[in-house]
Amino acid sequence: MNICAERMHKIMDPRYLDELKEMDILRRQETGNIQFSDYKIIDYPLGKYLIKIKLTLNNEFIGVIEIGLNKNFLSHKQKLSTINHHNVEDYYLDE
């Protein structure tokens, strides 16, 4: 069998078609962004907890993987206020 025939034979084989589809996907992927799985895991903050949830690629719920504490518990105002400040201006008005 010559090479062209061999390739034709491979293309007709359904198992090779899946391989080709995956290669096509690979070609269209950006470098370092290859996903072979059919699910994804996201972090979902819920109050003081951080929940790792498994979803399908179409964002359908599969299950909960992990529940942990959300250590990023500071409010936005608290995050902004990283220094202690004493409000004393009113006691030092220029007279």
Partner: protein, 182 residues
Amino acid sequence: MFYEVDRVEPVLRFGDILEGFILTTPNLVKDPTESNCCTIDIDVPRLCVLLTPCCSVRDKIISISPLIELNPSFFLNPYFTEDLTRINREVEARYTLPPERWEKLPEQEKIRRQNVGSGYVFLDQFIYEKNEHLTSYFLNNKKLGKFETNYYMIDYRNIYKINCEKIKSMEESLLRLKKLGM
């Protein structure tokens, strides 16, 4: 030490005291969309402070703030009078006010302030240590009367942009204008 003493570095750095700038401030007297809506104030302070980090001193632009006289009321607090640069650092709650004002605070308020712990008091100002190169001046206060000091300060709300052809880098700039380095 507050200032460079042994050797003044031949570069312009953030916080250095410089002399010889002209500062302009537009004052809006009417709605900005109207004609003749503003006046221009021109100030020629004797000394200014460089507020551009050294690595950003380039491209013919720097930011400066004039050295200004202190608020006389600062001297009502003996903790500050001993060393005005304490205003630049975190202060224990009980020292943030003159003693007689602290004593008059309601107990709840004293406890609240003590629970905050040490903190900064005047976030908009930074005090410059007295130095022989800084001219003394007189201040007046109702309680303290007339007194002399050569502490100065800058107000961070008072920042000006200066365009100058000679500003190329922290080394190739107007070094002769540098009076004191921090």
